[in-house]
Symmetry: C2
Subunit: 120 residues, 2 copies
């Protein structure tokens, strides 16, 4: 794995490891281009705290901020989340294989009671 | 969103935000039930450091450790990664919608040069 991509994934997963930051992303997904004060409204934390969270999200490349006059509009940028999802998707094979193995195991052990009786 | 699930996602994303821990998970995905010393072999870090990383992965529920005699076998447990993936999947709609909007925009702006000339 490339070093740069490693560092990018570190930043992405680290940025996602906070409930307020995840809630901010969810809010941006619902309404595109909200201003910082609109974004901050439903949160019971100070505006400076929200701005720190937005810095972390921006450093991870998860959002972009565009200043027009005195208003800053925030938008999701899909790249890093897609990369995180691609990383996790490698393990989907593992889950489905585990489920397949479990199904085989269940098929093998769940011989119909009648038949098992006949064989005994 | 439920508090408990929030805390679980915090732990999962936080555990994934480290390249050694991600590499450990990748190694477990390749070979199921490796012992800790087998797992640690390719890493240029001390065994205690690896064991700390395994503690973090275990606390996040990403792996299980089973002791048989003096050997501890490590295995992936799919639950938390599936949950992380489910969280990220909410944004897939956003990416595909963004791409759809981009496609529409390109269709609208990319009028064939000949036709644009006729209309002018």
């Amino acid at each position: 794995m490339v070093k740069l991509s490693d560092a990018a994934l570190d930043r992405t997963f680290s940025a996602l490891a906070d409930p307020t930051r995840r809630a901010l992303l969810a809010r941006m997904e619902q309404a595109d281009g909200l201003s910082i004060s609109e974004l901050a409204r439903p949160f019971p934390v100070s505006l400076p705290a929200i701005m720190k969270h937005l810095d972390v999200l921006s450093d991870a490349g998860l959002i972009s901020r565009e200043k027009t006059g005195r208003t800053v509009a925030c938008r999701l940028t899909p790249g890093p989340m897609e990369e995180a999802m691609a990383w996790l998707a490698r393990y989907e094979r593992f889950w489905s294989e585990s489920l397949d193995r479990l199904a085989v195991l269940l098929d093998e052990t769940e011989t119909p009671p009648g038949k098992a009786g006949e064989e005994a």
